[in-house]
């Protein structure tokens, strides 16, 4: 028990070490309540039970902030009225000033405005603390810069933009500026590098806060900051806190949030300002051709599916309902299971893999259309047939599927369908066309459309499809991430690589030559293809689909999209977050995702500056999936609104006696800042802001820094919490220290242990638990200060003295005389801390007794008042004496003085590894009943296996043997003993004389004597005479 306690206390210490130095005080009240325990027959608690449960109550209070506050401006906070004042923005901004808030309001309702208001006020309130805005993408950062500089007029020369790690003089920037716009990665990096002092930060704004999970930079930043600084305001912005409640709680915990401000589109105060967004869900049926294809594939895969069902690795279902995801999951589980023999495992795995491929094919067919299906199918088919043809694969199940004659038919139909110009791969495409036609007629030319799909191939197909409408008003382009597209399976390449190789040099040379030629050929082909693509109108899209789009290309496309060169953007998931283009009037979701966040973000791309329309094209099970996702999300919002999250207390920062009054005011903006308002493009905003930021810096410091840069290559700094001792500290100095004041009293210098009543604490522990662990408090100083020689001599004398007392002293009942002799006597009656150990107590045991925490406690109490009375000393000169009386203890005054100086109740030493608890436990003080005591001693003697014991045993046995051998072969129980029954007349009554004595002894004696003859007879009889 006690080691556990000390462990946890050292942990607490460590924690308090960290926490003392920030202004957060955490007071944790743990109430421990005992639980009933299951015990075995011997009364021992069974293992692995917690004997208590804990109620933890945490109170967090904050001390005054360490930031320098601008007392003049603290009286008010400014709410800019440059835009129309919206109530919800006003409310949220107000709470966000004093608490850490997650602001979860729908997209396009002005989160950035709230952020800039909060940032601006902290900028005013503090003198030189830093304010940081972080967002994961450049456009978001640019947006915020615009809002901050353009709306609130934070002077541009106090702001800095740090978007990547490439900027050289970041040390200076961090030191000289106050408001920062950065990506979280930069902030994290600079915090960890020691460039940015976490104590300087007073306000941290986090955009797209739903990412603050796992070990994303946001989490790392707050974790790092919390160690040094708890006095900073955190404002988290997001449209969608998380997909489930656990996620929200995680974000809340990671960011130390104390409140969620949640508004939905249905809330009255928000919907008033929301642009109207019409949502139209179109159920798209499957084309007969597609249904036909599905059926054919189903036929082909049926035998495989049947096998899988028979093997119990896939649930029975209609072949057209095979789910790729389920199959994939099952195959992963299968591989991870080590208990299945390898052969079976891999056969099953390949079946599931095939099912998963089929599932993908079906999904593509149902959701994206024939083209993307055929591409996938053809690729898989080619890959397998080549491998199988070369004998590299012997997968018979897959072969039975891919070589199925039905599939030839499938391929034929597909090729036929795709060759047909008028055939649209999916009915969705027809809907896209219709919507776009309507759109063109309805909207002005400045309008834009975004189409979302999950697959790149499908995106390209859509682009091509729109292009084939041959309408000049529709200028589509693809918008995808920078990863390279997957190249299809190249059967020629594969065949060549797996061809048997010649061993001769000539062969090799020839091969090399061939390879070169082939590469050139390929290059030429590629170039040709590229040229071909370029010549078509959708060339760049096609190109992009294959190579991916790098950041520059993405920017370029977005720019063109904004300027109107393209007006239809076909995006994969990259376009879902943070694109703020006001003129998007139509969103077409070509497919639906199961993630509510993705769906909401997609829909949030429209209705930003004017009303928008959303068209969802749903086919197959998609509508169910979509409805489910949105329903879940609405439920989540309801739950979050019901306040069932565990929030963290946050620092108010502003002294609690100051309540800033709101000052609504139109902020006039400086010329340069105003210029920003006119800049539309995010990159231009960044460029502009960067320039204005660097402007002075460049002029003033450029030369200087260039010269000095080499000299002091920004040395790494380590930030430490306040009051931390640095340098090397020897462990010796961390244990308790003692000093002696003139009167010889010992003083603890530092690190006083909490003055707990050790005795009781330990007693309680022992009652609760079994007395296995010893409550030893490591106490090195005391014992080491005792000169070992001195100590042993004292102890030796103790022994001698004690022995002498026991024998010599007869008249005065010696107080300590029974100490060494009372081997088995319990200390129940005696007040002295007599110990139970036998006569041969080694000296160290003595030390233990006296030094033992509670023993010495008693000892001190008991012995001190007895000291001064008798001073006679006989044997050992002045210091030691040989006879002791009741009034004096074993010690002379000098000895006692020495003892008192060196021992204290709280810091005793226990040298014995297993202390004897019985004397210190409540139950140990109760004697057993006489019978049990006798039994215990009897069995103890037996256990001891002493010679005497054995001898008595054999004696008894011998007597028994004699009885047996004396010719008694019948059962002794059957023996008719001489009837012990006496006649009534013979019942003797106690004579009056004996009665009068009434003492036990007096009574027993006559009885005894009178019976003696009888008994001796009995003893001598050996049943033989019966």
């Amino acid at each position: 028990m006690s080691p556990g306690v000390s462990d946890s206390s050292s942990d607490d210490e460590l924690e308090s070490f960290l926490e003392n130095n920030v202004n957060r005080n955490v007071e944790r009240i743990i109430t421990r309540k005992s639980l009933p325990q299951q015990r075995d027959l011997f009364g021992k608690a069974l293992p692995n039970q917690t004997p208590y449960y804990e109620e933890v109550q945490t109170n967090i209070t904050y001390g005054p902030t360490h930031h320098e506050l601008n007392m003049d401006s603290l009286g008010t906070y400014i709410y800019p009225t440059n835009y129309e004042v919206r109530e919800y923005q006003f409310d949220i901004a107000k709470t966000a000033l004093y608490e850490n808030v997650i602001c979860a309001i729908p997209t396009g309702t002005g989160k950035t405005f709230i952020a800039s208001t909060v940032m601006y006020n902290y900028y005013r309130w503090t003198k030189n603390a830093k304010i940081i805005f972080t967002a994961p993408t450049r456009p978001l950062v640019a947006q915020q810069i615009k809002a901050c500089l353009g709306v609130t007029g934070i002077p541009h020369n106090d702001t800095a933009i740090l978007l990547d790690k490439s900027r050289k003089n970041r040390v200076e920037i961090w030191a000289s500026k106050r408001v920062f716009f950065a990506t979280p990665q930069v902030v994290e990096n600079d915090l960890k590098r020691g460039v940015l002092n976490p104590k300087d930060v007073v306000c941290l704004v986090i955009d797209e806060a739903h990412r603050a999970r796992g070990s994303y930079s946001y989490v790392e930043i707050t974790k790092f900051m919390d160690r040094f600084n708890t006095s900073y305001r955190l404002l988290a912005l997001t449209a969608t806190p998380a997909a489930d409640l656990d996620g929200v709680q995680e974000v809340v915990e990671n960011l130390n949030i104390s409140r969620i401000e949640l508004r939905t589109e249905d809330d009255a105060d928000v919907s008033r300002y929301m642009k109207r967004r019409d949502k139209e869900e179109i159920e798209v049926g499957l084309l007969p051709e597609i249904e036909d294809l599905i059926e054919q594939i189903g036929l082909a895969v049926t035998p495989v599916l049947k096998e899988a069902v028979e093997l119990g690795i896939y649930d029975d279902c209609h072949p057209s309902q095979i789910n790729a995801f389920v199959a994939l999951q099952k195959s992963q589980k299968l591989v991870a299971n080590p208990s299945i023999p390898e052969g079976i495992k891999w056969r099953n795995f390949f079946i599931l893999q095939l099912l998963s491929h089929v599932g993908h094919m079906l999904k593509r067919l149902k959701i994206y259309g024939v083209q993307s299906f055929y591409k996938y199918f053809e690729n898989k088919h080619k890959e397998f047939t080549t491998k199988y043809g070369l004998g590299k694969s012997t997968n018979k199940t897959a072969a039975s599927f891919f070589y199925n004659p039905i599939l030839k038919n499938v391929m034929k139909t597909c090729e036929h369908l795709l060759a047909d110009q008028n055939f649209l791969g999916h009915d969705k495409l027809r809907h896209v066309r219709e919507e776009l036609k309507d759109f063109i007629q309805e909207y002005q030319p400045s309008s834009r459309v975004i189409i979302f799909t999950e697959l790149r191939e499908s995106a390209l197909e859509i682009v091509k499809n729109i292009d084939s409408m041959q309408m000049s008003d529709l200028r589509p382009h693809i918008f995808i991430g920078q990863a390279r597209g997957k190249e299809g399976f190249d059967d020629e390449e594969y065949k060549r690589k797996n061809k048997p190789k010649g061993r001769k040099k000539a062969d090799r040379l020839q091969r090399l030559k061939e390879e070169k030629a082939r590469e050139e050929e390929k290059k030429k082909e590629k170039d040709q293809k590229r040229l071909q693509r370029m010549s078509s109108r959708t060339g760049t899209s096609e190109e992009a689909q294959i190579t991916g789009m790098n950041q520059r290309q993405q920017k370029d496309v977005l720019h063109k999209f904004k300027t109107g060169l393209y007006n239809v953007l076909v995006c994969t998931s990259i376009g879902e977050e943070g694109l703020d283009i006001g003129e998007v009037d139509l969103i077409i979701c070509y497919d639906a995702t199961g993630s509510p966040i993705k769906n909401i973000q997609r829909m949030g791309r429209t209705g930003r500056k004017r009303d928008g329309k959303i068209v969802l094209l749903l086919s197959g099970s998609e509508s169910k999936k979509f409805a489910q996702a949105m329903e879940d999300y609405a439920e989540l919002q309801r739950i979050v609104g019901r306040n069932c999250l565990e929030f963290r207390e946050s620092d108010r920062i502003i002294p609690s006696n100051i309540n800033p009054i709101c000052e609504k005011k139109f902020i006039s903006i400086g010329e340069e800042e105003d210029e920003l308002n006119n800049i539309e493009d995010s990159d231009d905003v960044i460029k502009f802001a960067t320039q204005s930021m660097m402007g002075k810096l460049d002029i003033q410091k450029n030369k200087k820094t260039r010269k000095t840069k080499a000299a002091k290559a920004a040395e790494k700094r380590f930030f430490m919490p306040d009051n931390v001792q640095t340098g090397i500290v020897p462990a010796r100095s961390m244990v308790n220290k003692f000093a002696y004041d003139p009167s010889g009293k010992k003083l603890k210098l530092e690190k006083l242990d909490p003055p707990v009543d050790l005795k009781h604490q330990v007693l309680d522990d022992i009652v609760l638990e079994s007395p296995i662990s010893s409550p030893i408090k490591p106490e090195s100083e005391v014992s080491s200060q005792l000169d070992s020689v001195e100590m042993s001599s004292i102890l030796a004398r103790h022994k001698v003295a004690a022995g002498k007392t026991a024998t010599a002293d007869t008249e005065d009942t010696p107080l300590f005389s029974d100490l060494p002799l009372s081997a088995l006597k319990r200390p129940a009656s005696s007040t002295t801390p007599a110990n139970s150990s036998d006569e041969a107590i080694p000296p160290c045991k003595h030390a233990k007794i006296h030094g033992h925490p509670w023993n010495s406690l008693e000892y001190n109490e008991a012995s001190i008042p007895l000291t001064a009375k008798s001073q006679e000393s006989v044997g050992f000169g002045d210091v030691y004496k040989s006879t002791f009386r009741a009034q004096d203890g074993l010690l002379s005054t000098q000895e006692r003085q020495y003892f008192e100086d060196h021992y204290s109740a709280l810091c005793g030493v226990c040298i014995e590894p297993v202390p004897d608890f019985r004397h210190n436990v409540k139950t140990g003080l109760l004697p057993h009943s006489a019978k049990s005591e006798r039994l215990i001693t009897a069995f103890k003697n037996m256990d001891d296996n002493t010679r005497e014991g054995i001898m008595t045993m054999s004696k008894h046995k011998a007597i028994a043997n004699r009885l047996e051998s004396s010719g008694l072969d019948h059962d002794p129980v059957q023996l008719s003993l001489p009837s012990p029954v006496v006649n009534n007349a013979d019942i003797r009554h106690i004579t009056s004389g004996a009665h009068n004595k009434s003492s036990y002894e007096g009574f027993e004696a006559p009885l005894f004597t009178s019976n003696r003859a009888e008994i001796s007879d009995f003893i001598d009889s050996d049943f033989s005479d019966i």
Binding site: F939, M942, S954, K957, V981, V982, I990, L1007, I1019
Partner: protein, 120 residues
């Protein structure tokens, strides 16, 4: 007084091993009979049993003696034993049955067990 105590002590020294030996004999017999064939026992086990039984008997004797003395008798009678066994009625009834048989056999009306355990 001292003299007498001494002699009684000596007497006890002789008496106890004898008693224990007899107890051993009885117990061993009983154990032998009760145990299923093929099961062995160690002398230590018997020894332990002897110690247990002996202690129990001494205790019993002391109690019976005290009961008898309380009733103003020097002889222990059946009532004392029944008082002793007041908490185990089944044993009581069993003993009563046995007693009746015995009384029927010997024709005595009152009974008392001899004070075999009267010394400790």
């Amino acid at each position: 007084m001292n003299q007498r105590e001494k002699s009684s002590d000596e007497f006890r020294q002789k008496l106890i091993p004898q008693l224990k030996g007899k107890l051993w004999f009885c117990l061993e017999h009983q154990v032998k009979n009760e145990l299923p064939p093929g099961v062995n026992y160690s002398p230590k086990f018997i020894n332990a049993l002897v110690e247990l039984t002996f202690t129990q008997l001494v205790e019993l004797g002391g109690d019976l003696e005290a009961f008898a003395r309380h009733a103003g008798r020097e002889t222990i009678v059946v009532e004392d034993l029944m008082l002793m066994l007041r908490k185990s009625p089944e044993l009581q009834s069993l003993l009563r049955q046995k007693l009746e048989k015995e009384v029927g056999a010997s024709g005595a009306s009152g009974a008392s067990t001899t004070a075999r355990s009267s010394k400790r």
